[in-house]
Every structure is written in structure tokens, then in C-alpha cells.
């Protein structure tokens, strides 16, 4: 029996191609799952960034994962209907980012300023004695920081409203 929950648990094993420790569910980009009475599946994804090149790959990964579970009728769509923001990353997802060596984004109240971006705990030693080197990093969703405590450069998943 296929249900939205069973689809969700399949998607919990679909990992972000750029950050393989976090699933797309924990990343918060799965914005809708529907199962019709005929057991046709509809999954809606939302982009983290409009220019994110991983999105097409993620659509294909979703299709593949559901089909591998023996379900044939699947439609995956990307939509801006529900706009992603970093508060949509789950607690488990935040831990997964840390595991990948990325500082999780600070929770925000819908408004971001430079001082929020600079106040990031080092994922290696935990110190907050850090500075932001650049709000732009190796991918659109990351910024580059430096820890003055352990003298390491690190990346943060940057907060987005």
C-alpha cells in the first residue's frame, strides 16, 4: 500500500548530490507529496537557489528512487510555489551538515544582515571566534569563514530568507 509516508521514507534516502550527508527531505526541498487513488505519485521540489545546477539531478534521483521501489507512475515537478528558506532544514539535517564539515545556517526571523552571517560557530572546534571571508563559496549555498581559535578555514551553509 503506497502512502505519502511511504514515499517520504523513500525520499529520506535520496541525498543531496553536493552534500551527500543530508537527504532532500531534511534539506526541506520536498514541498509536496501526493498519492492519487490510482497510486500515481506526484512529488514537488523547490529550488534552494534559482540557479542551483543540482536541481535537475535531484529530480532524476527522486524519479529513480521511487521507481526502484516498484512504483511506475511518478511525476516530479520543480516549483517556486513554496519558497525554500534555511529554516526549513530539519534538526537532523543540521546535524548532517555538521557531519559534512559545514556550519549549519543560523535560524533567522526573515531578515538577514552581515553581522548574522559573520556570527558562525566553527564546525571543527565549536568556537565562535570566527570571521566571514566571503558570502560566496564553492556552491551558491555556502559562504567561506575562518576560525581564529583553531586557525582553520571552513564553510557554512548560508542562511537564506
Amino acid at each position: 500500500m503506497v502512502s505519502t509516508d511511504s514515499i517520504k521514507s523513500i525520499l529520506e534516502n535520496v541525498m543531496d548530490p553536493e552534500i551527500p550527508t543530508i537527504s532532500i527531505v531534511d534539506l526541506g526541498i520536498v514541498t509536496d507529496i501526493q498519492v492519487s487513488p490510482e497510486e500515481e505519485i506526484f512529488v514537488e521540489l523547490t529550488p534552494t537557489f534559482s540557479g542551483c545546477p543540482a536541481l535537475k539531478v535531484m529530480e532524476e534521483l527522486v524519479l529513480e528512487a521511487i521507481k526502484n521501489a516498484g512504483i511506475e507512475k511518478v511525476k516530479v515537478e520543480t516549483s517556486f510555489r513554496k519558497q525554500w528558506n534555511t529554516n526549513m532544514i530539519s534538526e537532523k539535517g543540521r546535524q548532517a551538515l555538521l557531519k559534512h564539515g559545514l556550519a549549519p545556517p543560523e535560524k533567522h526571523e526573515g531578515y538577514i544582515e552581515l553581522d548574522v552571517l559573520s556570527d558562525v560557530a566553527c564546525p571543527l572546534c565549536g568556537s565562535r571566534n570566527t570571521t566571514m571571508q566571503s558570502p560566496f563559496g564553492p556552491t551558491l549555498c555556502r559562504s567561506i569563514h575562518y576560525c581564529k581559535n583553531c586557525s582553520n578555514a571552513f564553510e557554512s551553509f548560508k542562511p537564506v530568507t
Partner: protein, 256 residues
């Protein structure tokens, strides 16, 4: 309210302005890839290019829903005269002072435009405007960082930035060239209009420039550089399009 043909034409014109600006400036920004003065700046301009081209795609997709051609065809198969982008965005990257000031002027325009569109009656446009706001925030923040730093920096740096601030003023006002459909756009709740946008933009950038220690252009006496919105472009746009579309034109039907 029910949209007439003129409302739809106005909406398409608005979308083409926005999408073409983003595509062309995105392409120009990407020309800093590998050439930035420091590694972080190389990455910053490349990232902003990626954001802008991604944003242009989302807008071309809305145009497709309105009956226009598919995004790749619209982006890669038109000649310069069919582009609605303003002349500011098509100019070569020049020196870093020019690129930074263009970035500062353009991205505040973009940020305010999206703020105005976040409650537009056109639902797909409303959704992308809300999405883009979070992304553009990083662009304006980046522009501010450099304007502030160079405004407080060496004499040469400040003088060059000040000159660019003045030199780009007319081109920047060209962003707000009126559409033929201003009335239709505002009466229908699609968009409050270029004039309203310009007023907010002048207030914002003037305040910022002053805070960063620059002389503010006397906007009332600056002559706007119009034409881009109506397809009149400088000699710099067509070579950019030729380069951008070179691979596509070799085999337009190629699968990527």
C-alpha cells in the same frame, strides 16, 4: 480584474525587461570568472552570474506559459534588437570600478523591483519575486561591502569609484525607461511602475552613497540613457550575443 490583450502585452514587456537584464548582466558577470582581482571576488562575481542566469530562466519560463517560445530559443536565438535589456547591463566589464558600481546600481534596482512585485496579482511572478529577494540580498550586501571599503580607502581607489558613480548615473537611470503599458500595469495590480521604482531607487542609492563617503549625482540634471527597453542597443550587445550563442548555434537540436 480581467486582463485585456494590452495587460498581457504589458506583463510580457515587464518580464522581458527583467529576464533580459539578468541574462545579459549574468553573462557579463561571468566574464570575471578567472580574472577577479582576488579569489573571493572571482567566486563572488561567478556566483552572482549563476544566480542571475538562474533567475532569468525562471522568468523566461513564465513567458513560455504566456505563449512565448521556450527559454533556450528565447535566450539564444534572438538578435540584439529583440532584447529589452537596458544599456547599462550590456557594456563590457571594463575596470573593476565600473563593474562594482554597475553591480551596486543594478542590484538595488533588482532588489526594490522584487520587493514591489512580491504582492503582484500575477501569481507565478509573485512566487519568483519572493524567491529572488533572498538571493539578491547577498548581491546588495556584497556591493555595499566594496563601495564602503573603497569609499574609505586610498585616494586613487576612492577617486576612481567616484568617477564611476558619476559616469554610470545616466546609464543607471536608463533602467527605468517607461514602458508603453505603464497604465495597464499599475491599474491591474501587476506592477506599480518604473517611475515609482525609480523614486525608491534614487532614495536608497543616494543614502548609501552618502554614507559611504561619495558625492551623490544630481539626479535631476542627469540625462538618462534610454533605448535599451525598445531594442536600441550599443555596438557591444551583438558581439556578446554572438559569443554567448556560439555553441548553441552549432547544433540547436543537441541534447545536453
Amino acid at each position: 480584474m480581467e486582463f485585456t490583450d494590452k495587460h498581457v502585452m504589458g506583463l510580457k514587456d515587464l518580464l522581458y525587461r527583467m529576464a533580459d537584464d539578468l541574462l545579459i548582466l549574468g553573462h557579463r558577470n561571468s566574464e570575471w570568472t578567472g580574472l577577479g582581482p582576488i579569489l573571493e571576488e572571482d567566486i563572488a562575481f561567478s556566483s552572482m552570474a549563476q544566480d542571475k542566469i538562474g533567475q532569468s530562466l525562471a522568468l523566461y519560463e513564465i513567458l513560455q506559459e504566456l505563449g512565448e517560445n521556450e527559454p533556450d530559443v528565447v535566450a539564444f536565438m534572438r538578435n540584439a534588437e529583440a532584447f529589452h535589456s537596458c544599456q547599462l547591463v550590456e557594456l563590457p566589464i571594463g575596470e573593476y570600478d565600473f563593474s562594482l558600481v554597475r553591480h551596486f546600481y543594478f542590484d538595488y534596482q533588482s532588489a526594490i523591483r522584487m520587493d514591489m512585485l512580491k504582492d503582484t496579482v500575477v501569481e507565478p511572478l509573485q512566487m519568483v519575486a519572493r524567491k529572488f529577494r533572498g538571493e539578491i540580498k547577498y548581491h546588495t550586501m556584497h556591493a555595499d561591502t566594496w563601495m564602503k571599503m573603497l569609499g574609505a580607502g586610498s585616494e586613487e581607489g576612492k577617486a576612481r569609484m567616484q568617477k564611476a558613480v558619476m559616469d554610470c548615473a545616466g546609464l543607471a537611470l536608463g533602467m527605468f525607461e517607461l514602458s508603453d503599458y505603464e497604465t495597464e500595469l499599475s491599474e491591474s495590480g501587476i506592477f506599480a511602475g518604473e517611475e515609482a521604482l525609480k523614486t525608491q531607487w534614487i532614495e536608497t542609492v543616494s543614502q548609501k552613497l552618502e554614507a559611504f563617503g561619495f558625492d551623490v549625482p544630481d539626479w535631476d540634471t542627469v540625462t538618462p540613457v534610454y533605448g535599451g527597453r525598445k531594442g536600441e542597443h550599443t555596438a557591444d550587445l551583438q558581439p556578446l550575443l554572438d559569443e554567448m550563442t556560439e555553441v548553441f548555434r552549432i547544433d540547436p537540436a543537441a541534447e545536453w
